[in-house]
Symmetry: C2
Subunit: 207 residues, 2 copies
């Protein structure tokens, strides 16, 4: 699994001319780092005597952040897999009419999957942005900057995932599916730019 590679190995492969891992896997890691930083703020807030009032709330935030981190970590590999499926589909033979039809069908199925994976990544990143707001508002002041890093990381990952949705949805012939996924992405993106700036400004004001 991609998450078992060292950071250096991953960066070397990312930089190489191999087509995977690419931006989709990078987005998943960046989103997972955002989730991990929310967890860090929670772990350094829970159990501290000045923060007993938010302890219960932060246990809930931690639980959600850890679930999102696990989901995003799985997407590092999922992006590689789905890209491989798209490439394999494009590589299918197209000499006969039957082959052409089978190839088209395989491409369309792969593109749908390659839309759904980054869309799920985008959704998870938007959730991380929401959690980072609570972390920034009520978390331990000693690590409040980590809530700021969490929000910009999650937002960058969300926008990266969005690019991968745009690419793949563009090739989908099922208009109803494509429009639904585009609309879903718009709903996920809505307001995240403003919220990211609010959380960042709040963190900066507390430093």
């Amino acid at each position: 699994m991609a998450e078992e590679k060292t950071i250096r190995e991953f960066l070397d492969e990312l930089a190489s001319k191999a087509s995977t891992p690419g931006g989709g896997s990078a987005a998943a890691i960046i989103g997972a780092m955002g989730a991990a930083l929310v967890s860090m703020v929670c772990n350094l807030t829970i159990g501290k005597k000045n923060y007993t009032e938010v302890e219960e709330e932060f246990r809930g935030v931690l639980h959600k952040a850890e679930a999102l981190r696990e989901r995003l970590t799985g997407m590092i590999e999922a992006d590689i897999d789905v890209f491989a499926k798209v490439m394999a589909a494009y590589g299918m033979p197209r000499d006969t009419e039957d082959e052409k039809a089978a190839r088209t069908q395989a491409i369309q199925a792969a593109l749908k999957e390659a839309t759904v994976v980054p869309l799920a990544c985008a959704r998870a990143c938007a959730d991380v942005i929401n959690l980072s707001k609570t972390a920034a508002e009520k978390g331990n002041l000693n690590v409040i900057s980590d809530a700021g890093v969490a929000v910009v990381a999650a937002y960058a990952a969300l926008r990266s995932a969005a690019l991968n949705v745009y690419i793949n949805v563009g090739g989908i012939k099922d208009e109803a599916f494509a429009n639904e996924k585009r609309a879903e992405l718009q709903r996920i993106l809505a307001g995240t730019d403003r919220m990211t700036e609010e959380v960042y400004a709040l963190v900066k004001s507390k430093l």
Copy 2:
């Protein structure tokens, strides 16, 4: 070295209640991923028959991106080291006047180092943003989304590093040093928000 850990190990440590690695190391990795993605676009543009005109230019971009990636990778560990120095300085004894003076001196020296490290990270990230512009303008269209991921990653890393500069510069008593570093950060940040949006919009328009 931190870059020899697996991605999962790093994420686990980031999420834990250990104070390092924290947002500074995450920023360095995110910046390094931005640089790696610029390199990827270069590596998939150089040698392609439709891109011979930019081949020479992209060899230069690749060289710079790889140098930045190496520098940013080194900052994953540098952030951990400098944080340890700050903590060690705060932990020094302060029973006598001599001890107090030595402790204050050690804290001030450590805070200066803890300002210089994220400032260098910020500078490297701004350089990655600049390179991603060329990658987005002239790179292989098949991997142009990776230039978009590069720019948002580098910008998130830059803003993350900026938070770490703000924190540490705030504790520095040498006003001339502190003001110089604040001004330097402002110069680095200037225009990067606009350029990031330009590059992102350009990439989106090419998908």
